[in-house]
């Protein structure tokens, strides 16, 4: 993993500074769009650990979003636990679920496409299960009490979109830092070795099974933390949206577009896709043609995968010379 060049470091610093001051100048709409961007970036980065670093295609990450969201929200609604405590509980639940799914799959040598489809199956199965789970409202949904606070309360996660924006920015940066750290540690090298050639990695004495289960559990736990946060931002939860396969697809589109397995790809992808979606909405809003927005979105995806199949970040960093040459 090559480090940032001086130009890259300067660009990163500039980007961070811009993100920090943006809400001071932007209106409510822009802040709400930026929150969507940060959610996409956060989930994309969490998913990237499993699929980008370790090379195991998971198509069911909505499962962990839903588990995290429901755990945090249910603990708050029923027992009044603080959101942050609930989020940690949600992370534990998701880590166990993810680790179990990975352990079952890899113990039985389910890999590649089969693994991807298995992750969808678990996610869909859980979605239907939660539709009958009365304690969390089943299909009627679970609602968080909305209070009219005059000030932000980050401890109870009640407040303005701007508060959510800054907290989410901190969480995204934390995952970015964690990803960077892990990639440069032994476990990160193990993961990349498994991604490139699993048999070769095993023959070098890497415990492939343990590494893959660990990647999934970590990826699931991080995703669940974002899910818990999302529950307190949206204030409502339905099984059909929390565990939606559409959400799983959304989660993985940004990092693939941005550049799978890269540190900054998920962030770039999140910015591009959200901006793209919002632009399409405003472009087509006057026309009242159902489907036009999705059509343009699909066409844009097609254009990106046709022109830069490895993602936009590797292309951008070459273009702007943001990273040092590989040693």
């Amino acid at each position: 993993m090559s480090g940032l060049s001086p130009r890259g470091a300067a660009a990163l610093g500039l980007f961070l500074a811009a993100m920090l001051v943006l809400p001071l100048f932007a209106n409510a709409y822009i802040v709400s769009v930026l929150v969507v961007v940060l959610f996409a970036a956060y989930f994309g980065q969490s998913w990237n650990i499993m699929t980008g670093f370790t090379g195991q295609l998971s198509l069911g990450h909505a499962l962990y979003v839903g588990l995290g969201a429901y755990t945090a929200a249910a603990l708050f609604v029923h027992w009044g636990l603080l959101p942050w405590v609930g989020m940690i509980a949600g992370m534990a639940v998701a880590a166990v679920a993810g680790g179990l799914i990975a352990a079952l799959s890899f113990r039985f040598r389910v890999g590649g496409v089969y693994f991807a489809l298995l992750t969808i199956a678990f996610s869909e199965f859980t979605r239907i299960l939660f539709g009958h789970f009365k304690w969390v409202g089943a299909t009627e949904g679970l609602f968080l009490p909305v209070s009219n606070l005059t000030h932000d309360d980050p401890l109870r996660l009640r407040g303005s979109p701007t508060m959510f924006y800054y907290l989410l920015l901190a969480m995204s940066l934390a995952v970015l830092g964690l990803s960077h750290l892990l990639l440069n540690r032994r476990i990160g090298y193990y993961w990349q070795a498994i991604r490139e050639n699993e048999e070769a990695a095993a023959s070098l004495g890497i415990n492939v099974f343990r590494c893959k289960v660990l990647a999934m559990a970590l990826s699931a736990a991080l995703t669940a933390a974002g899910g818990g946060f999302l529950a307190f931002y949206d204030n409502n939860l339905y099984p059909d949206t929390a565990f939606a396969i559409g959400r799983s697809i959304e989660i993985i589109t940004a990092p693939i577009i941005g550049g799978l397995g890269t540190l900054f790809g998920p962030i770039l992808g999140a910015f591009l896709l959200t901006t793209l979606g919002e632009t399409m909405t405003s472009l087509t809003s006057g026309l009242e043609i159902a489907g036009l927005k999705q059509w343009l979105y699909g066409a844009a995806l097609l254009a990106i995968v046709a022109l830069q199949p490895a993602g936009l970040w590797p292309w951008l960093r070459r273009l702007l010379r943001l990273e040092e040459r590989r040693r």
Binding site: L57, L59, Y114, F125, I256, L260, L292, Q294, G298
Partner: protein
């Protein structure tokens, strides 16, 4: 007796599911690409049959050959023009490519027909046969019959024609096929066309049984995944067996437990099979 009726109805619907999944299985078995736009192609075919019916009043069974041919050409062109370039690329790039195709198909249908459910009016929609105390819906019998004929035709094609044999050779050994001078790219396009033709026929038959609207496509894609994995990805008899299993299990669990649980049951079946026999019931290890 009611219970037996339900099982038979599930069996007949399952045959149509099987034909749909057969397309996915053939495409994966030969080209090694998972068609994430499979349900979308199915819904496209359903709208094809719907439009033909709305314009001329013809029964979807009569316009089936035309819709099937149209889907074949669509699949052929899609593989030739787009997917062929990605067959050696990583799975996630293929996934994104087909996701984009799927999004465009659904959006196009949404633009053309709106989100409302459409169906065909058949004068025999409520007819049924009585066979030894079991009640058979006429539409289901016709749909299942059509599915069996379609599957048999595909089997005959692979078994007896030169092109069919050549495609099987590609599936067995792509490099070997190239060495003996087969035009692998063209054969892949034919294969994708055939897979699309399967959903073309299955879509026409399915329209006899259910309404169509653009957003059901994802459900059909998932259904096709479940079926082929149950039966074994790449196995033709496996796809039919899987289709019938899922058809019956949906019908029975919808009746015994409750309708909203029917797909949960299918997913549970899928998880079980993947963990116990990952190559599927009839797949080769």
């Amino acid at each position: 007796m009611l219970f037996l009726n339900i099982i038979v109805a599930g069996l007949l619907t399952g045959a149509v599911y099987g034909l749909m999944a057969l397309g996915l299985s053939v495409i994966f078995g030969v080209i090694r690409v998972v068609n994430f736009a499979h349900g979308e192609m199915m819904v496209l075919a359903m709208y094809g049959a719907y439009v033909a019916n709305a314009a001329t009043g013809l029964d979807p069974l009569l316009t089936l050959p035309l819709v099937t041919l149209a889907l074949f050409l669509f699949g052929y062109a899609l593989q030739r023009g787009l997917i062929n370039r990605y067959i050696a690329r990583p799975e996630h790039e293929q996934f994104l490519l087909l996701l984009a195709v799927a999004t465009i198909i659904t959006a196009s249908l949404l633009m053309g027909f709106g989100p409302d459910a459409r169906n065909v009016q058949l004068d025999y929609a409520y007819d049924s046969y009585q066979v030894g105390g079991v009640l058979l819906d006429k539409v289901r019998v016709l749909a299942a019959g059509g599915a069996v004929v379609g599957a048999a035709a595909l089997w005959g094609f692979f078994r007896f024609t030169r092109t069919g044999k050549a495609i099987r050779a590609c599936a067995d050994n792509q490099v070997g096929a190239q060495v003996v001078g087969l035009d692998v790219k063209r054969l892949y396009a034919v294969t994708f066309g055939l897979g699309a033709a399967c959903v073309g026929a299955a879509g026409c038959l399915m329209l006899l049984l259910v309404d169509v609207q653009p957003y059901i496509a994802t459900d059909y894609t998932l259904l096709a995944f479940i079926i082929v994995i149950l039966g074994g990805l790449g196995s033709m008899p496996g796809a039919l067996l899987g289709g019938i299993l899922v058809g019956v299990s949906e019908a029975v669990s919808g009746f015994v437990i409750e309708p909203s649980f029917k797909s949960a049951f299918s997913f549970a079946l899928l998880i079980l099979v993947l963990l116990v026999r990952p190559q599927g019931l009839l797949g080769r290890a």
